[in-house]
């Protein structure tokens, strides 16, 4: 075991992690730990843009952006956080430009902006050009620019180190901790993939920036490595997960493959059509049509297919039509996504419409934080020294449905905030906390058990079954019945997981073992997602219940807070789990307890959501 000491340790080297690192490393000794090499993170796959009301090409202001974000999230957004997001967006974009990001330019040499779903002027009057972009490679440019600046600032990286445990001074799963009592996060335990060695990182402040969990689904735009690691670690250590039932299905994944085709395709004039060639979005969102928010477009597409108007031999997708756009315009604004269509489907987007269908894309929920990036251990108490930012976190600026271009914004605004908060807090901590006795015990036991388990079922079989039941039962359309089916499947798969084995028993670069650990995280995340979805008997944003098709503000204008506890722990009334939805799901030795957290409302009253 090797031990390292830093002021700030950041877990994850995507956009949020590196933005935090740039901030924290100015004032504090900082290390970034990532299970990948930097620049491999999935921020690089983001395409269309980053929203900010720069008003470079037409009138715009951050208040409109705030409203669009709140409405886009179907009013489950914390409005104070949305206001910060929209206000600080402007400086975030300018910061990136100053760091060197090569944005597309207007004829005047300013950062160019384009339209994107759900972003409007004057509270929904018409689509507005708010997305700052670099062709359809905005995420790539952000990831590269942030890494370039990390090189410039000499940020320390631990590449291909997999964080497998969080060290805290209280066991939140079993201890009854009083309201206001202090709980501290003091380090993480990581597995060095190259050598198989265990490392302990003592830290005064820790930032989780581990990204999403798209691999709980089969059809997803997410990377293979997006397995909900940070969310699952926090959850297993007794921290709540917020709003996990809300998962975004991006409307335009390449049919059958799930590879993302940016909403920018529609921002630049692309049109969705059904088998009859009809521009069906006119029926679902008469004002902004194809540029309605993603939840609405994804549902509309799925509905067209369900009602028999799907295209293709199996009538199971719709068509993204770019054929009316000038090829030169496509090449300038959408070069990558059109190449994806050519490479993977053999479709020429200049002349043929592209088969598309919704693909699991983004977790609106995650580890709850306040606007400073501090992680909450219940509806209002923070864990000292623990921060989260980016997709792993739930601030909540996205509510029940994130607007396109707001995630590249989120990682920059809240990555920066988390980095700054963490460094400032680390300065107030005089010394590293003593390590607990046997800090690596749990991790070593977990790895050894998995490595030494005799011949059992393959990891890939269990993972495939998980992804298939999630696609079939917890996708765009959900019912109590389908969700309960998913839950019983997951329960069965949890049992099978206890018997999976790896073939690679070695220490060096053991990706077989890594995938087995990741599957454990996926199962826990899928389980909490489905339990929360069963409990929310209403339809809101990305969570659509056919058996409860209406939004129900009277009962559900609340964030879900899901806790994992040993079955023997008390359910309620013990301070650390405030405000129940009153739902406990028991699974043998542990249970999922659902609590709630109020939604922060400032200036916008919930209204019916029409576009």
């Amino acid at each position: 075991m090797q031990t390292h000491q830093y002021d700030v340790v950041i877990v994850g080297a995507g956009g949020a992690g590196m933005r935090a690192a740039l901030e924290a490393s100015k004032d504090a000794r900082t290390a970034v730990i990532s299970k990948l090499y930097p620049t491999r993170s999935h921020t690089g796959a983001a395409q269309g843009g980053m929203a900010a009301a720069l008003a470079n090409v037409e009138e715009d202001n951050w208040e409109w952006h705030t409203f669009d974000t709140v409405k886009g999230g179907d009013y489950l957004v914390d409005q104070d956080a949305a206001e910060i997001l929209a206000k600080e967006a402007i400086d975030s974009v300018l910061d990136l430009e100053k760091m060197g990001l090569p944005f597309n330019r207007t004829p005047e040499g300013r950062i160019d902006q384009r339209r994107f779903g759900g972003h409007t002027r004057e509270h929904g009057q018409a689509a507005v050009r708010r997305a700052c972009y670099a062709a359809d490679r905005t995420g790539h440019m952000i990831l590269q620019t942030l890494y370039q600046n990390c090189v410039k600032q000499d940020v320390e990286f631990y590449n291909e180190f997999y964080v497998l445990d969080l060290i805290t001074d209280h066991d939140l799963t079993t201890e009854d901790i009083e309201d206001g009592a202090e709980v501290n996060a003091t380090g993480v335990v990581a597995y060095d993939l190259a050598s198989g060695e265990i490392h302990v990182f003592q830290a005064k402040a820790i930032i989780f920036a581990t990204g999403g969990a798209g691999k709980i689904f089969k059809t997803t735009s997410n990377a293979h490595t997006l397995t909900g690691d940070g969310m699952a670690l926090a959850y297993r250590r007794g921290l709540p997960l917020e709003d996990m039932e809300f998962f975004q299905f991006h409307p335009t994944g390449l049919a059958g493959l799930g590879i993302l085709l940016s909403e920018a395709a529609r921002g630049e004039g692309g049109i969705l059509r059904n088998a009859d060639g009809e521009r069906f979005m006119e029926r679902y969102a008469p004002t902004i049509k194809d540029l309605a928010p993603r939840d609405i477009v994804a549902r509309s597409m799925a509905n067209e297919v369900r009602e028999g108007r799907g295209a293709g031999p199996n009538k199971d997708y719709v068509l993204l039509d770019l054929t009316h756009l000038e090829p030169a315009h496509i090449d300038a604004k959408l070069p990558d996504i059109t190449e994806f269509a050519r490479t993977y489907l053999g479709i020429e987007p200049y002349t043929e419409p592209v088969p598309v269908f919704p693909t699991a894309h983004y977790a609106m929920g995650g580890v709850p934080t306040n606007v400073a990036g501090e992680v909450l251990r219940d509806s209002h108490n923070v864990v000292k020294g623990l921060y989260a930012a980016g997709e792993v976190a739930c601030v909540s600026v996205h509510g029940s449905n994130r607007l396109g271009t707001n995630s590249l914004l989120d990682i920059n605004v809240f990555g920066k905030r988390a980095g700054r908060s963490a460094a400032a807090y680390a300065k107030t901590v005089p010394a590293h906390a003593d390590l607990p006795e046997d800090p690596t015990g749990r991790v070593v036991a977990q790895l050894t058990e998995m490595r030494e388990r005799p011949d059992g079922e393959r990891v890939a079989e269990v993972r495939k079954a998980l992804q298939e039941t999630m696609d079939a039962n917890a996708q765009v359309f959900r019912t109590g019945e389908s969700l309960n089916q998913a839950l019983s499947d997951i329960r069965e798969l949890q049992k099978r997981y206890a018997n999976v084995s790896v073939q690679d028993k070695g220490k060096l670069f053991n990706t077989d073992l890594l995938e087995a650990i990741e599957l454990g995280f996926l199962l826990d995340i899928a389980e909490v997602t489905v339990v929360a979805a069963i409990n929310r008997k209403e339809s809101r944003g990305g969570h659509y219940r056919e058996d409860y098709p209406e939004r129900d503000d009277a009962n559900y204008m609340l964030h879900t807070m899901a806790y994992r506890r040993p079955t023997s722990a008390p359910d309620a009334g013990d301070g650390h789990v405030a405000g129940y939805f009153d739902h406990v799901e028991s699974f043998g030795d542990y249970k999922v307890v659902l609590g709630s957290k109020p939604v922060t409302q400032t200036r916008y009253e919930p209204m019916e959501r029409k576009y």
Binding site: L36, G100, F103, G109, R110, G346
Partner: protein, 258 residues
């Protein structure tokens, strides 16, 4: 992965949208695992899998790892050609496994898959990327400016922005550098990727660090080692005109015009 586009067997498939029926392919993979019985010796292993017309080399590698031999080791992440994890030598050419359709690499014969060359092999298809990133970091791959920061964005004309567009596409996959014969024989050479990233800043109208970068690349292991074999351009999965970028850097070094 191909569920939606597959035609049911009964229907006559239209030859479009990748609707190709399944076929068998054999992959011949160079294995290296110092912990195995073969020790420091690398060996060839063959695997046969059943794939579909839209499947890529990465899909076949996954099938092998997930269904036949869990110890097969390779890097991958995004699986659609943007993260740069899975550059490997496929039938003797550097490509990204996730962007290479099996049907395009002569699947009638065994497809050979090897790690990229010129970097130390760690295990199977995984190489140590550190020397590659070290060269990248050396060329000061970040915007260098002097004077006060403007309050708004720096202005840049669309033409000035276009000047370095091609080299902004680099994903640091090392396909170019590890295809370069000079790099194979001389590990000290900066290699195409580092020069591409220097180009990206040298020709950025906002940047003021060109002189320093050119000085670094004027080193004996710098741009002058390039022999213009065009391997790098052919290898680049992002379609960057790598050799042209290197030529432009060479010219800038002579003319000091950039």
């Amino acid at each position: 992965m191909t569920a939606v586009l597959e035609n049911p067997a009964t229907e006559a498939p239209e030859p479009k949208a990748g609707a190709v029926p399944s076929f068998d392919v054999t992959l011949r993979i160079r294995r290296y695992n110092p912990e195995s019985e073969h020790g420091e010796e690398s060996v060839w292993d063959e695997f046969t899998v059943t794939v579909h017309g839209t499947d890529r080399v990465l899909d076949a590698l996954h099938m092998i790892k997930w269904e036949q031999d869990g110890s097969l080791t390779f890097r991958r992440s995004c699986a659609h050609g943007v993260c740069g994890s899975d550059a490997m030598r496929i039938n003797g050419r550097n490509r990204l496994a996730c962007k290479t359709l099996l049907k395009d690499v002569n699947p009638d014969k065994p497809i050979t898959v090897e790690p990229i060359k010129g970097l130390p092999v760690v295990k199977d298809l995984v190489v140590d990327m550190e020397p590659f990133f070290a060269s990248y970091r050396e060329i000061m791959p970040f915007l260098i400016t002097s004077g006060n920061e403007p309050t708004r964005e720096r202005l840049q004309s669309a033409e000035d922005r276009a000047r370095f567009d091609d080299t902004t596409k680099c994903i640091l996959c090392a396909a170019c550098t590890s295809s370069c014969p000079v790099f194979w024989t001389d590990g000290q050479y900066f290699g195409p990727a580092a020069i591409v990233n220097a180009h990206r800043f040298i020709f950025d109208s906002r940047d003021e660090g060109a002189t320093q970068r050119l000085e670094i690349l004027n080193d004996k292991e710098g741009v002058w080692r390039c022999r213009t074999t065009f391997n790098c351009t052919e290898a680049c999965p992002r379609g960057i005109e790598v050799t042209k970028a290197i030529q432009e850097v060479k010219r800038a070094m002579i003319t000091r015009a950039f």
